[in-house]
Subunit: 125 residues, 2 copies
C-alpha cells in the first residue's frame, strides 16, 4: 500500500496505517495535502517578511482540519495557526504577510478555499 512520489529528484514516501492494510512507513496522502498547505503559506510568509526586512525566529505552522462524514471524505474545515517570535512593532507586518499569502499568493490556500471553510490565527511567542 506504500507509494513513493518522485518530484524533481526528491522522493516522498506515502503509506497507510496498519488498520487500513499499510505499514505506516510514511504519512497518509490526504495528510500530505495539509503539509502542502502549511509549506505553501509558510514559504510565502518567510519571503514576505524578508522583503519587509522583519527579523523573526521560531516560526512554525499548525494545521488542524476536519473531514466530512461521507465518502469521498474531504476537508471541510481547516484552521491554520502561525506561531512566530518577532518585535512588538512588527506584529502588524506579520498580519499583513498572512493576509498577502492567504488572499493573494498562496495557490494551495486558494484551492483549499474552494472546498473548505478556512480560518487563520497568529500566536506570538
Amino acid at each position: 500500500m506504500s507509494f513513493t512520489a518522485k518530484i524533481n529528484g526528491h522522493n516522498v514516501l506515502m503509506d497507510t496505517k496498519a488498520d487500513d492494510g499499510g505499514e505506516d512507513s510514511g504519512p497518509g496522502p490526504k495528510q500530505l495535502m495539509l503539509a502542502s498547505l502549511a509549506g505553501c503559506t509558510g514559504i510565502d510568509i518567510v519571503s514576505i517578511l524578508n522583503k519587509m526586512k522583519v527579523e523573526f525566529s521560531q516560526f512554525s505552522i499548525d494545521v488542524h482540519a476536519a473531514l466530512s462524514n461521507d465518502h469521498p471524505k474531504i476537508y471541510n474545515l481547516v484552521k491554520i495557526t502561525y506561531t512566530i517570535k518577532l518585535a512588538e512593532k512588527d506584529k502588524s507586518k506579520m498580519i499583513k504577510a498572512v493576509q498577502l499569502s492567504t488572499e493573494k499568493y498562496c495557490g494551495v490556500y486558494a484551492m483549499f478555499k474552494t472546498f473548505a471553510k478556512m480560518d487563520t490565527e497568529i500566536d506570538y511567542l
Copy 2:
C-alpha cells in the same frame, strides 16, 4: 525557505528552488499536492484490486497538471495516467477500480474536482 512537515511521526521536507530563494532540498509544497492526489487514488486502487483478487504488477501513476496564469496560481487542469500490468481479462476490473476511486472513495480527487478539470487514462503494459 525550507519547512519540515511533521505528520504522525513522519517528517516531510519542503523547499523552493534556488530561483525562488530556496536550496531545492525538498519538493515544492504545491507539487506535493499532486503527490497527495496520486497517493490517494493509488492506495484506493491497490486496495480495490486486492479485494477483487486481481493480480497485477508494475503499477505506477503519473500526474500532469497545469497552473493558472494569475496569482494565486491554482491547478486548473490535471491529468492522471495509471500504468499497470495485468491479465487481459482483468482490464474491466481496473477500469471499475479507477471509477470507484475517482467517483466515490478518493477524497483528494473529490477536492481537486472543485477547482480543476480532471482527466484519467489507463495504460496497460
